[in-house]
């Protein structure tokens, strides 16, 4: 009986640790990404946070009203989302809309506090900040709906995460979509402006 109990305690502890490991990894990775982001801004090239990484920082997303700031990675596959929000599409500096997805239980858990009119800022590698205002927030069913990128305006920033925020099911079909607009179409040529880097390079 004691053995069974011991085994059960051990198993539960392992599962718990594995569960806590995910948010811990998300927090620690952001620290490492800060360095990579600073380096990629300084050198103006893709910099992998660690040599075997299959993703790299592409932008910094800031939610000033919530006092949050995080590094956005390239791609929204499992590997990149574990360490930071992933840029699915576009680039604030380039033409077309930007779509960023993040995990509801780590980086994008604070998305629920955003409401219409909230401010969002996105910084590209050149150091330029792009300002957005939340236009609307909606919940979509990913079984019936796709992101039709041709229907999105060029100045749109879409933040996507899973819904509900406290759900246990990690394969649920609902998505929480925050749609923000910058108001003015991004000007591509501004990439050549004097570079202003507000991150401290640790290298």
């Amino acid at each position: 009986m004691n053995r069974v109990l011991l085994l059960m305690v051990m198993m539960s502890t392992t599962v718990l640790t594995a569960g806590l490991w995910i948010p811990l990894k998300a927090v620690v990775a952001q620290e490492l990404l800060e360095l990579a982001w600073a380096e990629s801004q300084a050198r103006q090239m893709e910099t992998r946070p660690w040599p075997w990484a299959d993703t790299w920082p592409v932008a910094r997303l800031s939610l000033p009203e919530l006092g949050q700031s995080m590094i956005v990675l390239e791609g929204a596959h499992g590997e990149s989302l574990a360490f930071g929000p992933g840029q699915v599409l576009g680039n604030a500096a380039g033409p077309g809309p930007v779509v960023i997805a993040g995990h509801r239980d780590t980086h994008f858990s604070s998305l629920r506090h955003l409401e219409q009119g909230s401010e969002l800022k996105l910084q590209t590698r050149s150091g330029r900040w792009y300002r957005y205002r939340v236009d609307n927030v909606r919940i979509v069913d990913s079984r019936h709906e796709r992101i039709d990128t041709s229907q999105l305006d060029d100045d749109t920033l879409l933040l996507v995460t899973c819904y509900p925020f406290d759900g246990l099911d990690n394969r649920g079909p609902l998505r929480y979509v925050v749609e923000a607009r910058s108001g003015q179409p991004p000007v591509v040529s501004n990439e050549r402006d004097p570079v202003q880097i507000d991150t401290v390079a640790g290298l």
């Binding site: 059960m8 539960s12 929204a76 574990a82 069913d141 709906e145 796709r146 041709s150 609902l174």
Partner: protein, 711 residues
């Protein structure tokens, strides 16, 4: 004394269990409460998840009506392929039937693929009893006549070429409830290599990526294609039919009936297919081949391979045809190259990880790349490049193929996922840019540089990419591996041709080893370069095509076609082997067998060589004129000439409306739908934490119960 000594411990033993029991009881209750709380909150969450299920369908889609309901296309499509293979040329009659199931008059528009080397040479339209034979016209003229007939309510059909392997059928004024058919005739050369013939019948296309910025002043609304024209692909809307799943079209729509009759002129031992189950019936030397399951779903290419009886594989052949009083000769020669060479190589693997590769394709691509890594020897160097919207390389430069690097590469490849755009140009820059520009086979450190490009070729700007390959190739060789159920074989073939390499395609995850071993075998074997055919009389050298024979890899035949030369004398072909020695072989033209369709083959080769010069940019007016004249002369469809069939009498009263319907194509089997899907954005973390806590609570509760019972 004794009693008191006994009494004291007994009293204390009596009070302690009471206190313990109370604590245990409270602990137990609180634990169970916590447990119940968890359960309750979970059920509440579950409820919250179900609640906002009904949301408005924002994804605008052509077949969705105003209420967001899916609508089946009203025009049903069935096709029939009848292929007759005689020796090296396959002649196909393709019949497309459009059945209008609606109450309105319809115009059907259907974008469809044909083999990359197909030459369309005839068109007929059949409506009930009426058969109207189509004519070839200049493209603009064909469009004008068609539009006029459409306006006047006459039945009309038109077929245009959008890409060498992509065509559009338009069929105007299909009466309600009736069926109108279009019959196309095309011929193509059968691919022959290493003693095996191969024929590919494409039935659908992988949705293509359109690089470049959208053209701002272009129309915003639905134009028949899901893509809007961009600066680099001005005709994007014409080559992007919407792709749907088989269950989204009518139950009998998008089915193809296929029959192949192969008379190769020599006994055939086996007929196989990596894509479909086939039934073959032998009738003398001819074989009739049909798919096992009757009609096939048009969601993947049909690949048929056949091989002659062992030992009877042809190594040379000559065919002769007279057309309008002129002689046409087709000669085929397989150089017998045997010995392997062991030059150290620098192998650059480029893998497409764009969104169109998602699903089965990326698995095939990863398997191909892993197989490629296995062929590396200790003296070789390698690198892995992946591209989607961006290009990234595994190593800054090619590294030695030692076990450490190979392990690292294998791990990298296994983790590749498909997502994003297909910006192929930057990948080519990186892959070709790292090579030197010096002439000769080897680069600075004595390595032969070979680039293996693994992709589905789903791009709209092929011509620009070919130009890039031609400019930047240097001393590299480019080999292409087509991936998926419907790869863009035009891209594979031409990219390899400009890249001085060769191409192959994988149809299925189970079919990876055969084609790839063949390809890697070729890459490790000597290449025959500087091939020069010497025809018996020198005066008409300008009428032989291809004008510059590419390099030949192991098992590949040299094919030459010529005009205005009688079947006599001897054709001598010479070439150079890597060691510097000359290779020479002669072919007796007097033994020519009668062939069919050789003049079209010749015309097609000549058209290709004319259009090659226009690759880098604009086609000049002279070339355009030459192409049009030649195409009209030989009745071939090109990008400047179209087929049009027009009825004389109107069938539709011009006051009744005509609706245009763009028919969808089926999503290639095993690939994922085209529009951007919402990514998976939740982790297992809350579930794991909850389970872990639950387990701990349960075990502590069990522990307490255990203690209480056995205390």
């Amino acid at each position: 004394m004794l009693t008191s000594a006994v009494a004291t411990p007994s009293r204390s033993a009596a009070t302690r269990p009471i206190a313990h029991r109370a604590i245990r009881c409270m602990e137990g209750i609180s634990l169970w409460l916590a447990f119940l709380l968890m359960l309750a909150s979970h059920s509440m969450m579950a409820e919250a998840m179900e609640a906002p299920g009904q949301s408005e369908g924002a994804g605008a889609f052509h077949f969705v009506d105003s209420e967001g309901q899916w609508q089946e296309p009203a025009t049903l499509l069935t096709t029939e392929y009848r292929v007759t293979v005689s020796a090296l040329i396959a002649d196909t009659r393709l019949r497309q039937s459009f059945k209008n199931t609606s109450q309105q008059w319809r115009e059907g528009v259907f974008v469809f693929p044909l083999p990359e080397n197909a030459s369309v040479y005839a068109l007929t339209m059949t409506a009930g009893e009426r058969v109207i034979v189509g004519e070839i016209k200049e493209r603009a003229e064909a469009k004008r006549q068609y539009d006029q007939a459409k306006k006047e309510g006459r039945r009309a059909a038109r077929v245009d070429q959008q890409r060498p392997n992509l065509f559009t059928t338009r069929l105007a004024n299909i009466p309600p409830g009736e069926t109108v058919s279009v019959e196309l005739h095309y011929q193509q050369a059968v691919r022959y290599q290493s003693g095996e013939f191969e024929l590919r019948l494409p039935t659908t296309l992988t949705p293509r990526y359109m690089p470049g910025a959208p053209i701002a002043d272009g129309p915003k609304q639905w134009q028949g294609g899901w893509a809007t024209p961009t600066t680099q692909v001005p005709d994007a809307d014409k080559i992007s039919p919407s792709t749907v799943l088989p269950e989204d079209v009518g139950p009998d729509s998008h089915r193809a009936k296929v029959e192949l009759v192969i008379s190769a002129g020599l006994p055939i031992a086996t007929v196989t297919s990596p894509t479909h189950g086939l039934t073959s019936t032998w009738n003398g030397d001819a074989v009739t081949v049909t798919p096992n399951d009757g009609d096939i779903l048009m969601d993947r290419d049909l690949v048929v391979r056949w091989a002659p009886v062992r030992g009877q594989e042809p190594s040379a052949a000559v065919f002769h045809e007279q057309w309008r009083g002129e002689d046409y000769l087709l000669a085929l020669l397989v150089p017998g190259l045997a010995q392997d060479r062991q030059l150290p190589r620098e192998l650059i693997f480029v893998i497409d990880t764009s969104g169109s590769m998602a699903g089965q394709s990326i698995r095939q691509a990863r398997a191909s790349l892993l197989r490629g890594l296995d062929t590396l020897g200790p003296a070789d160097r390698f690198n892995v490049i992946q591209f989607n919207s961006q290009t990234s390389t595994l190593y800054q430069q090619a590294v030695p193929a030692d076990s450490y690097n190979l392990d690292q590469a294998r791990r990298y490849v296994r983790n590749l996922t498909a997502d994003g755009g297909t910006e192929m140009a930057s990948a080519l820059d990186v892959a070709l840019g790292q090579g030197g520009t010096e002439q000769g086979e080897e680069n600075a450190n004595g390595h032969v540089r070979q680039v293996v490009f693994i992709t589905d070729g789903a791009v709209g700007n092929e011509a620009a990419l070919f130009a890039k390959i031609r400019q930047q190739l240097g001393n590299s060789r480019l080999f292409t591996v087509g991936i998926g159920s419907a790869p863009n074989m035009h891209f594979m073939r031409e990219a390899a041709r400009y890249g001085r390499g060769t191409y192959t395609a994988i149809s299925d995850l189970g079919d990876v080893s055969g084609p790839l071993d063949e390809l890697f075998g070729k890459m490790q074997s000597p290449v025959l370069t500087d091939i020069q055919p010497q025809w018996p009389d020198q005066q008409a050298v300008s009428e032989s095509f291809p004008r510059r024979t590419g390099d030949l890899f192991k098992g590949e035949p040299m094919v030459q076609v010529t005009r205005g030369r009688a079947a006599r004398g001897e054709l001598t072909v010479s070439g150079r082997l890597p060691a510097g020695s000359r290779w020479q072989q002669a072919l007796d033209l007097g033994q020519a067998a009668p062939g069919k369709g050789l003049h079209r083959y010749w015309a097609r080769e000549k058209l290709d060589s004319l259009l090659d010069t226009g690759l880098s940019g604009h086609v000049d007016e002279d070339t355009r004129q030459a192409v049009t004249t030649l195409a009209l002369d030989h009745q071939l469809m090109t990008r400047y000439t179209s087929f049009v069939a027009l009825d004389k009498t109107p069938v539709r009263d011009t006051s009744t409306a005509l609706e245009t319907e763009h028919l969808p194509t089926l999503l290639p089997a095993g690939s994922q739908p085209a529009m951007l899907r919402y990514p998976q954005t939740a982790t297992l973390s809350p579930l794991l934490v909850a389970l872990g806590l639950l387990g701990l609570m349960f075990s502590s509760a069990a522990l307490m119960v255990h203690r209480r019972v056995f205390a």
